[in-house]
Symmetry: C2
Subunit: 232 residues, 2 copies
């Protein structure tokens, strides 16, 4: 077994671009696949090639957090998995609550990728009396009115917001009052949270726009490119 | 009405960092809110403040695509909405197909944010005979075996993959063969697509990791920070 104690720098989280953190997650997934496939070591070029990045990008991203390569060896896969999990904070489990068990909420409860990365969905909440008290994917649906109490009892650390846009801010405020450290918001609205609480907004249309941007601007696409550049 | 003809540069899409494109979507949402609220103009500092970015970040992001500000006025909201939609390719509608109508697929079919941004979900596919032929959220569920035919008939341009990880690559291959220009993948696996086809992977655990990164590394968080920086 390789030495797996954390051996990396912890920069101020606000100084690291979110895109770098996002890529850390991608590197982690690939490294986990490599470990599963029995690979002991890898390189920035192999890792980059599997994900469509340059080796320079991989090295630059990791350099935010320390030096992980070994001369003549490259990266030790298990060691780098341990370091990235420690950087991301997923070297331990997190207890998570979900608010809103409509279709999206149910999808999130059934999403196996969470448990794989150490996220335990421990409670769900809804305001609909026909849902309260039921078990979905092994998780009990509580009355939203009980949110503060249940979150305290279960020591919930993170909240997922999957309610309609009009209700999302009120739900976020309740989660913050109940002491969660971070919120992932799936409602198509920008939430305000106090400093010291982290949030990420998941806007599914944004993912589609990433794709249309590439398709619409690509040479030879079905979409005519309208060139009207200003002099720069 | 302000002049709304496209008046921006179209850079090589591969030269624009994905994070910039992602922020364009955020700017677009805020500008759409401002227009709805009757605001005629805004500034990079107002736009940045609403989203938690610096004004310099906003200006730098937009500068990839041209000059949009007017001296003494700032940005005209409607004009900038038009420009960003043109840049993102969402100044027209896109026809979209969904493969996999489990919980996540149903959530995607019901997600109103897509239609708001001009994405028309026109067909769904599944292999489950009990689902084939049914209507979900006004969309017909077709037999996956009919994918190529239905995509051609409906001139589908983009595909959403919401099948289990083990089936995702095969589905992506079918979508590519059927001629879609872009794929948004919700399965927790990295897909391979040929050059010329765009893809974005949505890994919901990655969003959570963005949050745990900030929570775990924040001063005064519940999680002890382990400092073991190497000299650099």
């Amino acid at each position: 077994m390789s030495n797996s104690k954390p051996n990396h720098v912890r920069p101020d989280p606000d100084s690291v671009p979110p895109a770098v953190v996002n890529r850390l997650s991608l590197y982690l997934r690939e490294l986990q696949h490599l470990v599963r496939d029995g690979e002991a070591t890898t390189s920035s070029s192999q890792l980059g090639r599997r994900l469509g990045f340059t080796d320079a990008q991989v090295r630059k991203d990791l350099a935010h957090f320390g030096h992980f390569g070994h001369p003549g060896i490259g990266y030790r896969c298990e060691e780098l998995v341990g370091a990235i999990r420690s950087i991301l904070g997923t070297d331990r489990e997190w207890s998570v609550a979900l608010v809103g068990v409509g279709n999206l909420g149910r999808a999130l409860l059934g999403y196996r990728g969470f448990a794989q990365q150490g996220f335990r969905l421990e409670a769900a909440f809804d305001a609909d009396p026909t849902k309260i008290g039921s078990m979905l994917e092994g998780v009990e649906v509580h009355d939203i009115a009980q949110l503060a109490q249940v979150l305290a009892d279960k020591r919930i650390e993170l909240g997922l917001v999957a309610v309609p846009a009009a209700e999302a801010q009120a739900v976020a405020d309740q989660l913050v009052s109940a002491g969660v450290g971070g919120i992932v918001n799936f409602a198509p609205v920008t939430l305000k949270v106090p400093e010291g609480v982290s949030k990420v907004g998941v806007d599914l249309a944004r993912e589609l726009e990433q794709v249309t941007f590439a398709v619409a601007n690509r040479e030879g696409s079905r979409v005519p490119r309208v060139h009207s550049p200003k002099s720069d």
